[in-house]
Symmetry: C2
Subunit: 184 residues, 2 copies
Amino acid sequence: VQLHRDDVVAAATAILDNYGMADLTMRRLARELDISPGGLYWHFANKQQLLGQGGWRHRIHALCGRVRDALLSHTDGAELVSASFAAGQSSRVPEVLGLLADAAIEAGLDSEQAALAARTLIYYVLGATADEQSRRQWVSAGALADAAAPVAGFEFGLRLLTDGLAVRSTPDRVFDALVALPPA
Amino acid sequence: VQLHRDDVVAAATAILDNYGMADLTMRRLARELDISPGGLYWHFANKQQLLGQGGWRHRIHALCGRVRDALLSHTDGAELVSASFAAGQSSRVPEVLGLLADAAIEAGLDSEQAALAARTLIYYVLGATADEQSRRQWVSAGALADAAAPVAGFEFGLRLLTDGLAVRSTPDRVFDALVALPPA
DNA sequence: ACCTGAACACCGTTCAAGT
DNA sequence: ACCTGAACACCGTTCAAGT
């Protein structure tokens, strides 16, 4: 049974999802793949290169998913945040924008494109969630039939956007921009 | 020669300044202080607690300093960025806002206060730098006497702001908010 | 009270050697 | 081509013991 880069990235993503960044070590990843730690270094030059493959994509999905959850947990949350954001009054959205831009930079975009990509993502999340939320209200009022798996639809649109990002991704200088940032 | 918490924080800050976050390890810090690694754990419960003392302050100063440098390196840079930021057209500023907010959160503010603090800091950096930049132009035109050490003035204002942050800082739940963020 | 010394359970990475 | 096994030079943290 051969092992390909995609399998390694998939396993890394699984660890990231279920246990978090702190548990994503080369040795643990190797253990999960029934491989010796050194073996990973045939597939990837180092840990940074491995994270560069799937890290930013995963973080965008995770972050957007959590924003969606937060919006859905308040009545008219999406509409409310959209309005305050449009009015420049939002407190948390700029922070999220920054994190999304970071992920886009890790994907290889320059910081100008990354900022635009971050806004695109937020527009999508706010728009899609506002639509889903109002739809839910019509359903609970009995005026509309229930839509099947709204999460799936949300994820699909998100993947569309991250695929677009991946096209613009230049894997070579993936971490350059991040390294240029001040020590975290 | 006794060793106090402040000495440890000062040594940590020096390493941070001269070598970066990657080189700030407990063992290296102990070496620099002519102490054994274990000895640090009498002063601080763990590395996080140590970083919580001086980390956010250092990061704010470093980041704002770099923003100032970037603005000064372009003619009318501060004025230009101020205008584009006010018009909501800025690409990089939201990213910087996010990083500043992160630091404020690490200082112990909730995310709402942190966002406000980040904006306050940016207003100061843009305002102070724009002033300094226009003053430089008058000086180089021979129409004004050179001011002594403009960097010192910039740093003083910055320290004023971070002191204000420190007052609002609740050291107990310093990292809670950061931990709640998605894996980086 | 303040610190040492030694240990524990980990890291990322390299590299000869195997198949 | 793909991986093992063992090593190297590190980590953060704990804790008995010293002074």
